[in-house]
Amino acid sequence: MKGDGEVGGKGAKRLSDEGRRRVPSAAVGAKQTLHAELIKLRTLPGTVWLLLAVVALTVAVGSVTAAAVTCAASGCGQDPAKAILSGIDLSQAVVAILAVLAISGEYSTGMIRVTLTAMPRRITLLTAKAAVLTGLVLAAGTAGVLASVLAGRLILPPTSPAPFSLANGADLRAAAGSVLYLALIGLLALGTATAVRDSAASIGAVLGLLYLFPVIASAVGPDWSRHLQQIGPMSAGLDIQATTALRSLPLSPWAGLGVLAAWAAAALLAGGLLLRWRDA
């Protein structure tokens, strides 16, 4: 897949490098870049649908799972917060697709050359893209999580210890953390797509990275499984949703989200450096 991405670029490398140097730097400020990126992402035909899909999937899967939870006097069979917010397991895939399209769409149409001509400072450009994407994902994630919490409160049988409530510290952490989780998944996907450039390969890579760790963890012995759950971006990041049996978690909730943040930072760094070094 890497080879496929390189086919178009190789021959034109030197020429374009020279072309890049001729463009006056600082032609556009950070604010204008941000504005331009917002317009680009907002007016893409798929963006609105993907954001709606994030909200809908979060609520739908969360409701189905919450409806299947059985509760007894001693507690529920499942962590209620995890059940209500389980839609995140799926909607993160949509967020990843949205984030990949935000950059790889430019490569597939050749728009990236216009963009980089207008905004030669590539790190600023990537930062602007990341900021716009994060804003949109936070908005959709918040809507989806709030709707899931409302639906969950209606569906979940009233549990005797404590019903799910955002007034409760742990539940609030689970809900707010899930929104942050989606934003970090978006950044991880954006960084990966900036490095990989091809949209299909990027989506495959990001989804593989997310889902492969839990798949392998389910198939290996407990020691390996625990380590895999500590380093996998999805399994570690979703620790933020846990409200019961915190001691048996492989990582504490915030440390788990920290692992995902590290993955996202590494992906953005790799993407940013490659964007800077490579010819578009």
Partner: protein
């Protein structure tokens, strides 16, 4: 990718399907990334199958220690543990008893026991070849939720009277032995008898133990998906009265034995019996049934070694999508269609090349993993369910075929959508997510998971099924535990139906649209 499409030696005959195949094969093999991706898919499947593994205690503390239980008369693994109140029977004879109550205890989520009956809690009368585990038997019993049953040789199960036994509505059970033939009868009043079944047990010695028994199996309940299964040992107590024996029963008293060790980590009291004023109370735990894998059983299947197929699946569907969309992105499609104006054949050639390459890669990977992976697991002390050679071949070939058909579906969806991002997203939703949700990370509740495993392309993974579902054993029969709702080839047919529809739509659109 393009320059080698027309090679000097090859005549570019517009109608030669062989040339078309060769052209598509050249396109595939000259893109370095796709070849590397296919090799990576094979390596991922092999590495995840042979690499870090589960570990267990099977065979670690002696030969066959900690493994699955004894072997029944039919050669299958069985569970055979119950409380047995017995005396010897020489030659022919008959035992009749009235059951007035069956009560029990099942575990709650917290681990504490509360009163309740497992659906397959059993109490009744049994005649067994010996007290050795796994020996032949026939039994009449009342059950927790399935009425009166006659069961024999672990896998045999015949229904009798419905409903549960109580003091107001007792159940009468009778078992007669004539040579090696045993016949079971039941009755609601002790006067009118109905024959439930007649079975012939091979190798029954002249003198056999017979009498009363009670047992109650591992109890499992799910809350949400398979990620939240809880349960444990349960216990059952049967109350018997009006016991009458005829024939060659020995005159001594009843002896009580706990047959087998109760399975599971939290072994409670093995049971016992009490005799008072013509009433016999027997309490037992365990099961007399075929062994199962999953929530209420132990061991893993060879499908477990193929967990890396998930990684391979993602890679092959992405390659399948790119095989078509890169033609559109680079404008090569116009050259391709100019060279071969019959567009259906182009798609057919692409599908054949992609399917063949994926099948070959999948075959290599799954053959290595299935043959070597079992050894790795056994060396780690994990009990691997034995499979017959034909089933093993079916798993290997089937897995490769599933990967190939999935890649062809990806190709067809890519042909219809033309843009790689949209195509990959659709393929992930159609193929990868159903597999993920039902098998790999089972977060869905069992109902939706079962439905997905029937209608989605993930049904094709039923080719990896090597276990039998027994209706007379309570278990969480879910795809993630190796139990598929469809038979292997029916599941594969569902996947092929998806491929046929996708290819038909793709052919129609490719013909109708301007490139």
């Amino acid at each position: 990718m393009t320059p080698t499409m027309y090679r000097p030696g090859v005549q570019a005959g517009p109608d030669g399907f062989a040339q078309l195949l060769q052209a598509e094969w050249v396109k595939f093999r000259t893109v370095r990334g796709w070849v590397i991706a296919m090799i990576a898919a094979v390596l991922a499947i092999v590495a995840l199958g042979l690499g870090p593994s589960m570990s267990g205690t099977c065979g670690k503390t002696g030969p066959a220690s900690g493994c699955a239980g004894p072997v029944g008369p039919g050669g299958e693994q069985v569970t055979d543990s119950f409380y047995f109140v017995h005396r010897p029977l020489t030659g022919n004879g008959e035992i009749t008893v009235r059951v007035t109550s069956l009560t029990g205890q099942i575990p709650m989520l917290s681990g504490a026991m509360h009163s309740g009956l497992a659906p397959w809690a059993k109490a009744g009368i049994i005649i067994k070849a010996s007290t050795r585990q796994g020996s032949a038997y026939a039994a009449m019993m009342v059950t927790g939720g399935h009425g009166v049953r006659m069961q024999y040789d672990y896998t045999g199960d015949l229904p009798g009277l419905a409903g549960s036994a109580s003091a107001a509505s007792p159940r009468w059970l009778r078992l007669t032995r004539s040579g090696s033939t045993l016949t079971g009868y039941d009755s609601a009043d002790g006067a009118h008898w109905t024959r439930v079944g007649t079975v012939t047990l091979a190798g029954l010695p002249p003198t056999v133990p017979g009498g009363l028994f009670a047992t109650s199996p591992q109890y499992a309940q799910t809350s949400g998906g398979l990620t939240s299964v809880y349960g444990g040992l349960s216990r059952a107590t049967g109350v018997f009265g009006q016991l009458s024996l005829r024939g060659g029963w020995s005159g001594g008293g009843w002896a009580g034995s706990a047959i087998g060790a109760p399975g599971g980590p939290a072994a409670g009291s093995p049971g016992g019996f009490a005799q008072a004023s013509g009433r016999l109370t027997v309490t037992g735990t365990g099961d007399i049934a075929p062994s199962v894998s999953g929530a209420t059983g132990n061991g893993v299947t060879i499908a477990q070694t193929l967990i890396g197929v998930f990684a391979g699946l993602i890679v092959v569907v992405v390659v399948g999508v790119l095989f078509m969309t890169s033609e559109y992105r680079r404008g090569l499609i116009r050259v391709t269609l100019a060279a071969t104006p019959r567009r259906g054949r182009v798609l057919a050639a692409k599908a054949v090349v992609l399917g063949a390459v994926t099948f070959a890669a999948g075959l290599v990977a799954s053959a290595v993993v299935v043959t070597l992976g079992q050894t790795v697991l056994r060396n780690h002390g994990v009990y691997v369910w034995p499979v017959t050679a034909p089933a093993e071949v079916r798993v290997i070939v089937g897995t490769a075929a599933v990967l190939a058909v999935a890649a062809v579906i990806a190709l067809a969806i890519a042909t219809a959508l033309r843009r790689s991002a949209a195509a990959v997203a659709s393929v992930i939703v159609v193929i990868v997510l159903p597999y993920l949700l039902t098998v790999a990370v089972p977060i869905l509740p069992l109902g939706p998971a079962d439905w997905l495993a029937r209608v989605s392309p993930a049904a094709g993974f039923a080719v990896q099924q090597t276990l039998i579902q027994y209706p007379q054993v309570s278990n969480v029969y879910a795809p993630s535990a190796g139990y598929w709702p469809l038979t292997p080839w029916a599941g594969f047919a569902v996947l092929c139906a998806w491929a046929a529809v996708a290819l038909a739509v793709a052919t129609y659109l490719l013909r109708k649209r301007d490139a």
